[in-house]
């Protein structure tokens, strides 16, 4: 494998996960904030809020996971390795 391609793939794999994590980190933070406020206001609704929160966490997390899939493709199944 060309060393330039190797270096570029490794940097790109790091950036794919790192930049992808920013957005879902912010999103999960504000979702957790909303959930905590909701529980503080209405402690009896905790179970329902927790379920919804976990479900929406998983959706946000999957955005980073897409970045991870791109990173894994670059590292283990690189189409430009030729």
């Amino acid at each position: 494998m060309d060393s330039i391609v190797t270096a570029a793939s490794v940097v790109a794999a790091g950036l794919a996960v790192g930049l992808g994590a920013i957005g879902s980190g912010i999103g999960q933070g504000s979702a957790a904030q909303g959930a905590v406020e909701g529980i503080a206001r209405q402690p009896e609704a905790e179970g329902k809020i927790r379920g919804t929160l976990l479900l929406s966490f998983a959706f946000m997390e999957s955005l980073t996971i897409y970045g991870l899939v791109v990173a894994l493709v670059l590292l283990f199944a690189n189409p430009f390795a030729g």
């Binding site: 976990l54 479900l55 998983a58 959706f59 997390e61 999957s62 996971i65 897409y66 991870l68 899939v69 894994l72 590292l75 283990f76 199944a77």
Partner: protein
Amino acid sequence: MLSSLLALPFAALEVGHHLYWQLGNLKIHGQVFLSSWVLIGALLALVIAGTRKLERDPRGVQNLLEFLWDYISNLAREQIGEKAYRDWIPFIGTLFLFIFVSNWGGALIPWKLIHLPDGELGAPTADSNTTIALALLVSLAYFYAGLSRKGLRFFEYYVDPIPMMVPFKIVEDFTRPLSLSMRLFGNILADELVVAVLVFLVPLIVPLPVMLLGLFTSAIQALIFATLAAYFIGEAVHEHHH
């Protein structure tokens, strides 16, 4: 010290190594078939054992199965609606149980004890072929649900608020299976990789919390896959009132 630890038979990082079986012109990933057959067998054995002698007061396995049935039918009713959910409980339930059992089976069963010539056994859902097949099944299911229940009126959904939505809704039909399959595949593979990297760095105790987190996320992923499948079906059978 380090080299002796690394010589222990821990799971290796083997992304992209497969046990290939030649089937006509197709090369198939044998390790995925082997592990999914084992897990399907275990699931079938559990279900058959639990429903052989049904009692009025459920005990043991029957109790567990009734709890699961309740859980899945509640999930289906919430997403699909009172009218149509009964037809889809088997489909949603099968998806949920298969994905759940394969995620947990991949993490909990010591597959490394079984030696393969190439590749290694693991969760069937950590292979993108499995997840893409499941996601395409969901696509077929919601088209079938909509067309069989509403006929050609199913396509009203594409022009639902305004006709300008048509291109977006058509693109959505393609992005749904893509995101469903990549979400499950990426999550399960990421769990396995994180555990493998940690085991490689610190073989004892330290990976345990991450393994528990992995079990938790894989259970949630099974739930999400089933919920989204039910949601798509529910959207397809939903009656619009004008």
